[in-house]
């Protein structure tokens, strides 16, 4: 019996030894580990599934469950058009399968889910319209991703809270949704079809209509329409500027960039101001630092253009790269005055 048991154990060890353990063959993850794995970016190897292409190619409509209410993209095809495939869904974990290389931007904006459908002209399969419905969870996130992708100078279209057109493609946001309706080419006919699809979908999307904080808080006077953007991080390419609204203002012949950020606390705002001051000292020369009971304001020459930043409570604001110091300070002080009324 004992001998049989030993032989059995031996066979079991041998069999186990033949099984490949994929965890041993991961890429050099230490080289990748500057960013810790998160739920949205799990670091796992699929080398044990070299033929896992099947898993990479979900059959149409077989993706993960939608985050947004079902049916929003059903029956969108206008007369003479038909769905090319079933509606597909993507979550934060699978978004890269659809927009690999761009997914990270949406994840930064706390993306919840993407629902897509393709519509094709029944008479001409080269003509198609792709509809992307991004559920961003909150209106500010939907606006944010809409605003940072917007190309300057494109014609505005009355769609959702704000929309624009690029040839036969339409982009708008409404409520917690950011919508892209992408036409496959140019021409009046496909432009009209795209617009009809966008309008049909727009009517299905709910929105409480409550204005976003940044729209209320940034001064309205001289603001260039459609110029507001919302950055969850790296506003003005400054890694310490988070959750920041930016807008352009016309001051005479000059354009002025104004920014405003509501921080979680006065303490965080003070830290952000200190970082901004550090940036000014590193890349420019601080001209003035004014501290009152109500606010702190710092001006700096950034090499031919001026930045003015202020902190008031948990708010950080200011103007950036203004050619004239007095104009920059006046614009920043006007912003501060406006905040007294609104916040």
């Amino acid at each position: 019996m004992l001998l049989l048991l030993m032989a059995g154990i031996g066979v079991a060890i041998y069999a186990k030894g033949q099984i490949y353990d994929p965890s041993l063959y991961r890429p050099e993850l230490t080289a990748l580990s500057k960013q810790a794995p998160t739920e949205a970016h799990p670091v796992e190897s699929r080398t044990d599934q070299p033929a896992s292409a099947g898993a990479q190619m979900p059959a149409p409509g077989v993706g993960t469950q939608p985050a947004s209410p079902p049916g929003l993209l059903d029956n969108l095809a206008p007369t003479g058009w038909k769905p090319l495939e079933n509606v597909t869904h993507f979550t934060a974990d699978t978004l890269y399968e659809k927009i690999d290389g761009r997914a990270e931007e949406y994840l930064d904006y706390k993306f919840v889910g993407l629902t897509c459908v393709s519509l094709v002209n029944a008479q001409d399969s080269k003509q198609f319209i792709d509809v992307y419905l991004y559920d961003m969870g909150q209106p500010a996130q939907a606006f944010g991703v809409f605003s940072v992708e917007r190309t300057e100078g494109l014609p505005a279209v009355t769609l959702g809270r704000e929309g624009y057109r690029a040839e036969a493609s339409y982009f708008f946001w409404k409520g917690r949704y950011y919508v892209q309706v992408l036409g496959s080419g140019k021409g009046a006919a496909i432009e009209q079809i795209g617009l009809n699809v966008a309008r049909t979908l727009e009517k299905r999307l709910k929105d409480d209509g409550k204005p976003l904080w940044g729209f209320k808080a940034l001064p309205e006077k001289d603001r260039i329409p459609g110029s507001i953007q919302y950055f969850v991080k790296d506003a003005m390419s400054l890694d310490f500027m988070k959750e920041t609204y930016i807008a352009l203002y016309r001051k005479g012949d000059a354009k002025v960039t104004a920014f405003l950020s509501k921080q979680p606390s006065g303490e965080t705002a003070a830290k952000t101001l200190a970082s901004y001051e550090g940036h000014m000292k590193k890349y420019g020369k601080v001209a003035e630092k004014r501290e009152t009971d109500a606010y702190t304001l710092i001006s700096a020459d950034m090499g031919g253009a001026f930045d003015v930043v202020f902190r008031k409570g948990n708010l950080i604001g200011g103007v950036s790269m203004v050619e004239d110091l007095s104009m920059a300070e006046k614009a920043a002080l006007d912003m501060l005055a406006g905040l007294r009324d609104k916040d």
């Binding site: 031996g10 353990d21 050099e28 699929r46 190619m57 792709d130 496959s184 140019k186």
Partner: protein
């Protein structure tokens, strides 16, 4: 229980044989290598390596041409002619793999994918050179059929009699890459197994994470598995691609350039008609030039400098033997 001498000797001999058998078996199974080393070497037996697809054209050969024009077919012909003709790269009987970028289910006009007209122009030249077979392959993660259809690449391949090879299960193998981050990885390997020559045909476009997607980044499309994790160190990984594969030729399709909102695009307003093809044997040089078409400074494109530092090419395209050609 009593045991006689004969019985005792029989049992002792049996036990001795069993112990000796176990010892011999253990000696046979014993492997002095550590566990991880053992498994690695076992796995290496199943891991493919990529051969070089480069051709030796001798010293003084033109390494890069920048072709300006409107007609991709004429442009390809003129550009290749300036490099010694297609016969310098593809010979009769070759199986040519053309690797376009078909990463997204976008219309060609949006500039997110390789132009079908440029793909056709490359394939026609290979046919003219007597290629036995032309394979067109890429591994778009989501619904390859839709990507090949909407990008127009499927139709373009059909028009010139090329075979579209889709990334079906079973077409992937572990491939030894030997890069800084990419050591061994699952790859869409079947088309490479068949090919005797490999030509990468990549669009020139903005990229959200690495600034630009051009000929080096194009090879990312052959990776399998959950490849988005490589975005964390994307410049090093792109440099690894230059180490991974030595193509016969690369073509940077800058007939349309996606200037912003890449790599997916979606707005025709983001696309600029640059009417340019860059053809070359040094991906680093081609990408260095290509970056200028995006209006950016190649000094600031990290991955080409990483590749150059590893001796995989040169960012100093002006110092190479290159030509500018006007065609069509």
């Amino acid at each position: 229980m009593r045991m006689d001498r004969r019985e005792f000797l029989k049992r002792a001999a049996g036990a001795g044989l069993a112990i000796a058998g176990s010892a011999l078996g253990a000696a046979w199974l014993y492997d002095p290598r550590g566990g991880a080393e053992y498994f690695r070497s076992e796995e290496n037996k199943k891991t493919a390596s990529l051969k070089s697809y480069r051709v030796d054209r001798g010293k003084g050969a033109v390494e890069m041409t920048v072709v300006r024009g409107k007609d991709p077919e004429k442009m390809m012909r003129a550009g290749i002619q300036a490099m010694g003709g297609i016969g310098s790269f593809v010979q009769k009987g070759d199986v040519v793999l053309i690797k376009p970028n078909v990463a997204f289910d976008r219309a060609p006009a949006l500039g997110a994918t390789t132009s079908p007209d440029v793909l056709k122009a490359v394939a026609l030249l290979c046919k003219k050179a007597g290629a036995r077979k032309i394979i067109v392959a890429d591994n778009p993660i989501n619904q390859p059929e839709g990507c090949f259809f909407k990008s127009g690449i499927q139709q373009a391949a059909a028009d010139v009699g090329a075979e579209v090879m889709l990334p079906k299960p079973g077409a992937f193998s572990l491939v030894k890459i030997g890069g800084e981050i990419l050591k061994t990885w699952s790859m869409f390997h079947r088309p490479l197994e068949h090919a005797t020559k490999v030509i990468g045909v990549a669009p020139c476009k903005d990229h959200n994470l690495c600034s630009a997607s051009m000929t080096m980044k194009n090879w990312y499309g052959l990776l399998g598995g959950r490849r988005n994790q490589f975005h964390q160190q994307i410049h090093t990984v792109i440099a690894d691609f230059a180490q991974m594969i030595r193509p016969t030729l690369v073509v940077l399709d800058a007939t349309r350039v996606l200037m912003q909102n890449g790599p997916t695009g979606g707005r025709l307003s983001d696309v600029q008609e640059a009417d340019t093809l860059v053809i070359g044997t040094d991906m680093v040089a081609v990408d260095a030039f290509g970056y200028t078409l995006l209006g950016r400074d190649p000094e600031k494109l990290e991955y080409i400098h990483k590749a150059e530092a590893r001796g995989l090419g040169s960012t100093k395209w002006k110092e190479q033997n290159w030509r500018e050609v006007l065609a069509g």
